[in-house]
Symmetry: C2
Amino acid sequence: MKKKRITIKDIANVLSISPAAVSKALNDDSRISAKTKEAVKRVAKELNYQPNHLASALRRGKSNLVGVIVPKTNSNFFSSVIENIEAVLNKAGYNIIITQSNESFEKECKNIDTLLYTQVDGIIASMANETVDLSFYEKIKSKGIPLILFDRGENDLNVDYIGINDYESSHMIVNHLVERGCKRIAHIGGFKRTRIFNNRIKGYVDALKKHNLPLDNELLLESSLTTEDGRNKMLELLALENRPDAVYIAGDYASLGALQVLNEKKIKIPEDIALVGFGNEPFTAMVTPTITSVKQHSEEIGKLAAKSFLDHVEKTTVTQNLNKIILDAALIIRDSSKK
Amino acid sequence: MKKKRITIKDIANVLSISPAAVSKALNDDSRISAKTKEAVKRVAKELNYQPNHLASALRRGKSNLVGVIVPKTNSNFFSSVIENIEAVLNKAGYNIIITQSNESFEKECKNIDTLLYTQVDGIIASMANETVDLSFYEKIKSKGIPLILFDRGENDLNVDYIGINDYESSHMIVNHLVERGCKRIAHIGGFKRTRIFNNRIKGYVDALKKHNLPLDNELLLESSLTTEDGRNKMLELLALENRPDAVYIAGDYASLGALQVLNEKKIKIPEDIALVGFGNEPFTAMVTPTITSVKQHSEEIGKLAAKSFLDHVEKTTVTQNLNKIILDAALIIRDSSKK
DNA sequence: TATTTTTGCTTAATCGTTTAAACAAATATA
DNA sequence: TATATTTGTTTAAACGATTAAGCAAAAATA
């Protein structure tokens, strides 16, 4: 019942030549005559031959597969990054394997093992929120497999990184809010231990200082940045005796939660409290009022991450200098913070 | 500079036994002594041995990889289906490779080729809108590789299918709108050639008949169901002399476009025109007003698709009866159509 | 004690490709 | 014409695992 696989041997038999010649013909080896090549390709098509990737990858020691690890595909940012990684790598003859960590350290470790086991030629990853222990990433490095991080990265791991300038983005946001006339600007930040969120916090603190605004610790909250936690942290801020007049939230999903709370309590946005999110998820332009947010250039990040990988595999030289690319983000001003 | 790979041969050398014994020990073969197994596993750990998937897959003729093809990972429905497929398959020792067709027939064909080339053990797919030519799917079948379709499937391809009852869903929606008092119900449907959208249209037409409502052809439009096209089709409906008092749209993204148009024109939802979408994307609960939509049980669909694949590989019998599973969808009533 | 069965391993072939090395025939060079 | 080079192919050994078959030694059975 099972269909017999067509192999190069079958093609060789038809043409009465050796399998080696067939292999070389299919790979356009210069030492094979044009006539033979043509014949081989014709017969290959006739027999509906499909090369066996496992065999060639095993022999070549190269799978032409690249693993991608993201916290969730279900966000515009990550899905767009993936799309662009894929576009660049496909052109170079690579295919990608996408895995999700669901923000779980354990799942992320499993994913790494799976990818290594599948013999990927490289890994492009954005780390889960939970991840503190870097030993699994060290494992990738120790195998000599190119590792490229984007968005969620770690300085300690001395690897290529593509991301945006989080520190500077916070400055942009605070500048914008100050210009609007806001004086008590709160910040619902992500986990401090995650580098990008820590940088956003630092940027926020320094920007306040720059504008001679006092830093009020009750206005600086740490959050998991889910919609649910956005709601909770917003409620905390509203419970304060001295409410903020603007809230900068380090993630769009959390900013959505905050927006819902403000709408429910009939607090006017941006008149009473202005709102700024982060990530420029499509829904920020869909909700009422639309939410000001920061665009992270997902297309660019995806392309650069892929190119960074290609640099590694194509460069045979030992002069492997690290690619650390920091892009400038763009503030997309919408109704939630308009003048 | 490159790290030498550790193979079973290295382990064998350390223990002065044969590579075959090592392989069997690692696979818990009953003919290997407990002592040897223990020693092998200890040394494997010490040397940080990672099995070479390519080699074992080649030899076994089984890659333990399952390919997944979806139009876009960037929708809650598909990302949730994928998550659940993965959960079930991981438990059974399989890993998945996710690919996106971006609703393009050409890309979908490429994805199929990639997956076949990677020697996946099975393919779970949801077809692109564009896809009419089924020859690439026939190719999968002709190779004897299990193929399971979900959501977007085709009856002609005689394969397993998991989806919801689209025809019945339309009835549910029309019933709900009629109950609300609506008399002129419009339908912005997907492409007729896509089976699921065609079923929704049929359900709409029959439900109108059931309620003795006239079928007005200017109220039945065909759409690509993007946000942009949702806007355009809504504008078409508003241009009618005799406007509808309810619009049932076969996709949430298009319903969002329609909602934007109605909001811009200050047409009251649901008082002037009620709105119902399809898919229960999270944003339907985020926008103002929230949009009534149909929940497709993505978790269930994902799990069932994975189980269906496992059925195929585990069943060695020839009695392979087809799994055609049709789930009942659930109508989630929100502000856009509340009484 | 002699014979059979079980246990625990080894040998060698195999999966489908690639590729270094060998080699004959054709062509170029001296 | 003799020698060197190029061309087009074959042979055979990999890649790293699995596995059928074989074979001693140990244990069980008669």
